[in-house]
């Protein structure tokens, strides 16, 4: 609860701040709080990913982008009512969706009754890997992980194509 309150405070800070450097630092704080929430929920692997990717890598990339652009946020040229309406509408739809969810953490939920018990019971016997997260990620769901790796591969090459190719074709454009 303390963590969630802090996250809400950081979000308000992000919305109110005009200095983009402060926004980047605040979003890093948000990611670390999110990682702490994941630890509270016993999802250590997810917490580790959130701390390294969300707080570490995205912050470095954001700072790299800030180095190329201005630090101050531009004054918006339109009224904030339409974005506010979209945001509040999305929040309302999401809140309405949570009403239909099964009770949080209950043992008889569908997600805990499908394939999860089989993974938990057979994982050590079948893969000798004590960390069930790893055995599910790499072995039972190996095909999905291959897809994720290919997504990262595609992202890397897309960035290379976009940022490298432009410089070569228009060398005078580069400051």
């Amino acid at each position: 609860m303390v963590l969630l309150t802090l996250m809400a405070a950081v979000t308000i800070g992000i919305v109110r701040a005009r200095n983009l450097f402060a926004v980047v630092v605040l979003s890093g704080i948000y990611s670390f709080l999110m990682a702490s929430v994941m630890i509270v929920l016993d999802a250590v692997d997810v917490a580790m990913t959130e701390a390294s990717v969300g707080a570490g890598m995205s912050m470095v990339l954001m700072l790299g982008v800030l180095y190329l652009t201005k630090v101050e946020e531009a004054v918006p040229s339109h009224t904030p009512w339409l974005p506010l309406f979209v945001a509040v509408g999305t929040a309302a739809v999401l809140l309405y969706g949570t009403v239909g969810l099964p009770p949080f953490g209950a043992a008889e939920n569908i997600v805990h009754a499908h394939v999860a018990p089989r993974y938990l019971e057979q994982s050590i016997a079948e893969t000798t890997v004590p960390n069930v997260v790893t055995s599910v990620l790499a072995s039972y769901r190996g095909f999905d992980t291959l897809g994720e790796t290919v997504v990262i591969f595609t992202a890397g090459f897309a960035v290379l194509l976009l940022l490298r190719g432009r410089r070569r074709s228009r060398p005078s454009d580069d400051a």
Binding site: D45, M48, M57, V129, G142, L146, I152
Partner: protein, 138 residues
Amino acid sequence: MKFDLILRIASKLLLPFILLFALYVQFHGDYGPGGGFQAGVIGAAMVILYAIIFGLEAAKRAVPPIVVETMIALGALLFAGVGVTSMLLGGEFLNYSVLAHEPAHGQHLGILLVELGVLITVAGTMVTFFYTFAGRGR
């Protein structure tokens, strides 16, 4: 930043331990939290810290861009290669049980290799992101 003595010495001390932690997260992923994704990002963070403190050129000399760009493809190829190998050995695609004499050992080996592929691709992609973004300003 380049002439800040304390930052340079402190990061010099930290760099090997960051890499060691990345390798620990990678190869201990079977037993504790962690795996290829996390280890790849931590390893890339080491290169990026080096680039921030010692300059982009020094980092590119230590870890050339051509190497990181090859790593992007190499990791995905390793992952898919494990799948194809298991097919050639008579199993289904990505069925690691056929990789060794005992199914459990095969699973272990397969998971290790696949996580290594993920590590290589993630680290290569992250460092490439940083190189291309940081290289645009100059």
